[in-house]
Symmetry: C2
Subunit: 512 residues, 2 copies
Amino acid sequence: MNGAESIVQTLLDADVTTCFGNPGTSEMHFVAALDRIAGMRCVLGLFEGVVTGAADGYGRMADKPAATLLHCGPGLANGLANLHNARRARTPVVNIVGDQATYHRELDPPLTADTEGWARGVSAWTRTAASAATVGLDTATAVQAARSSPGRIATLIAPADTCWDEGGVVAKPLPVPPPPTIAPHRIAEIARLLRGGEPVLLLLGGTALRSAALEDAYRIAEATGARLMAQQFNGRVERGQGRLPIRRLSYGVAPSLAELAEFRHIVLIGATPPVAPFAYPGKPGHLAAPGTSIHVFARPEENMPDALARLADELSAPKLAVPRAPQGAGPGRGNVTQEAVTQTLAALLPDNAVVVDESVSFGRLFFNGLAGAAPHDWLQITGGAIGSGLPMATGAALGAPGRRVVSLQADGSAMYTVQALWTQAREQLPITTVILSNRKYAILLGELDNVGANAGKVALDMLTLDNPAIGWVGIASNLGVEAARAEDMETFADLFTAANRRPGPFVIELTI
Amino acid sequence: MNGAESIVQTLLDADVTTCFGNPGTSEMHFVAALDRIAGMRCVLGLFEGVVTGAADGYGRMADKPAATLLHCGPGLANGLANLHNARRARTPVVNIVGDQATYHRELDPPLTADTEGWARGVSAWTRTAASAATVGLDTATAVQAARSSPGRIATLIAPADTCWDEGGVVAKPLPVPPPPTIAPHRIAEIARLLRGGEPVLLLLGGTALRSAALEDAYRIAEATGARLMAQQFNGRVERGQGRLPIRRLSYGVAPSLAELAEFRHIVLIGATPPVAPFAYPGKPGHLAAPGTSIHVFARPEENMPDALARLADELSAPKLAVPRAPQGAGPGRGNVTQEAVTQTLAALLPDNAVVVDESVSFGRLFFNGLAGAAPHDWLQITGGAIGSGLPMATGAALGAPGRRVVSLQADGSAMYTVQALWTQAREQLPITTVILSNRKYAILLGELDNVGANAGKVALDMLTLDNPAIGWVGIASNLGVEAARAEDMETFADLFTAANRRPGPFVIELTI
């Protein structure tokens, strides 16, 4: 058995069964091993940003890591932006990065680069394998690191000879410790705070946003008068009818300041302290009101469902049905507006869908507006590195088999990793993509104002994408995905319904 | 004047007049400054790999740096692969990377990443600006570093407040030392070697591949019996009728070993020692024959044209006209073959074209086969990070105004940075792109054999791009570039001739 075979078998033994890849010369033995060892689903992406973004989407839905297969430092570099998003989402990912043979690296051939250095910025665990005999154990250690709560990125750099040399040893899966539980005194402390009568916000993130944990959070809130809110950027939220219609902290400094102004205490439950995504001249960076106390109840890696259940019991909070979110008024009609698109999505979302949200500026109403839609999971861009949506939808479809993925996608961001559509076609994945085509970087037009920059013609030209206009129907169909355009709400509703009934992918270009 | 304005004016004063960018929030003041300070040509790319690859192409042709404008760590990360190629080509590039405000970074908002760490792997010079008062001087220092021979990558990270704060100070251009000249004793040593009668190869790279230097190299070779060859990967070679038809070291271990076997000495003139691009089991990494002595005559940063002229004079080598390359037999006919395409390109290449070569496996004959074509410059992928061709062509067109760019492009690599076509359309750049569509990663099929990996169906599936087929005509036209398909040589010749007469871009999908 060579080293590559030991990697593949070790991954499979640790229940890593899907590999997104774009291999090169140094990965050929890994690729060849896939024919000798059955069980790994290998999915080709035509750019590494697709590969890593798909691993992010897969990990969010499967609650276990996919592997990526990347080629040398530059292949890893192409995938860094979506690994950055995955790191912010706390998604488990195991990167296998092929590289120059151990003894060849010092000759500095063209593709030699600082692979380890680039990996460290996104990886909780990074190692360069030393030999075929040990690369199996390295792989098991990488999976262990990736699966450690709350989900981490582990990068194993495998020089070509550690893959092709004989003497590979399959390593048994290493134990993954469960998420740490909260100490009793912390339960008691937060219970005391909640009984104190001061205005408290419970700010939720991570696994606190799964439906059972949300039900306990709701019991706590109802029993104490505390308020609940999800943090701004979340890897996954369980949403829709029958689940708590929790709101999310708004984007933008002014609205989030207003939302947080009333609280004397903010209790973090898998959330990070609320801060502005960027600094703006003369505006605060911390979004909590001055004098607000921030309490860490559960860190992202801790067992939040358990902590919330115990806190609810400590407070003797009665079991309650979560409130029903208001039903929408049915599909929007006429012109394409934010409100009308929100209504249509809320009315027509398939049952048990996975929504992937990189709608950026146009989609600000979507999250709250779909609270009354059919039950669904909501995955959003978490690290601000655009180009996450199409790949994430691709991976989510494989991480949540049998569910329709609805990919709500801004056009400027879609262009970053448009190659993902080809993988959706190749794998015939059940994904409905809605390209929100406004032919501009709309968010930046607002940001020009926010930072107090006075823009003229040259500046505005740098933010507009209408010269030439991008033909999304043509791009999608030439990458193998059927597509159609909608310019009014009736056409959009018809296309959306028909698309969601298909077995494979479909792209709707929605002119906004 | 704010910091951003001081950056823009300092760049202009240092003759950096073109900026390729994809800005975000932290770059809005730079963008706004472009309207208040005239003279910067700002070119939008819809992905950062386009931005940095265009800067590479520009720098190779203009012999001076363009600036890039990138958004935070992830924006830089998206551009790293083509910066890696630029570093290998020794192209001057000045990266301006906006980032979190100095005082906001510690709050770790979503887009915060290890910007400096990622920059260092490709940059000879990296600095994070500390204030608006000093960012102008930082900019001048970056340009100085980028322009230092032979051309380097300089990365200035500009936190948002260093751009928006008032108090910016324009810095005067800093002196750029000329390329170091070779000491007389080194001229004498190599002259002695060349007179010694043993078999010597002069292996050329960098500025030794410009036409005047090549003429002196030819004088030396004719006077001494030494042989001349270009190294495998070169940023720019001046080629075609009237120039020396220098050959390039072949790709692949076996042919390059054969080409180098006869030499007792290899003299490096701006070249690096010949090594295999990857290790292969049982094959040597060094390509020079055992016992061959490697002599460094001129390092890449030294003044090679001067060194070659002085060496020729030292050897009393007479002035000579360079030999004429054989004229081709005219355009190829019938089926599309490597030989026929080479003939057509040789016969129909526009005068004074810039050829950008990312043809990978199909184009192995192109370089030598076009030696007799109309005079042209030859730019190739230098770092092995695919996705360099379409962006490089985009930048080369702006770095060499008035010249037609012919972009010879493998399909798999083209998909990496396909967004470049949109910029070509937007700027109406004079570029003829030939997509060599073989619907596979053909080079890897060979590499499977080279590394001794036995591939089965799963492995081969990972290297084929025909499910679904990619419609290049449709993709190009939906990105605003006119396009047509050729499946025989007559159609290709007609399209190539017509395309080259247009003012703007055109894409030919050539089925191979």
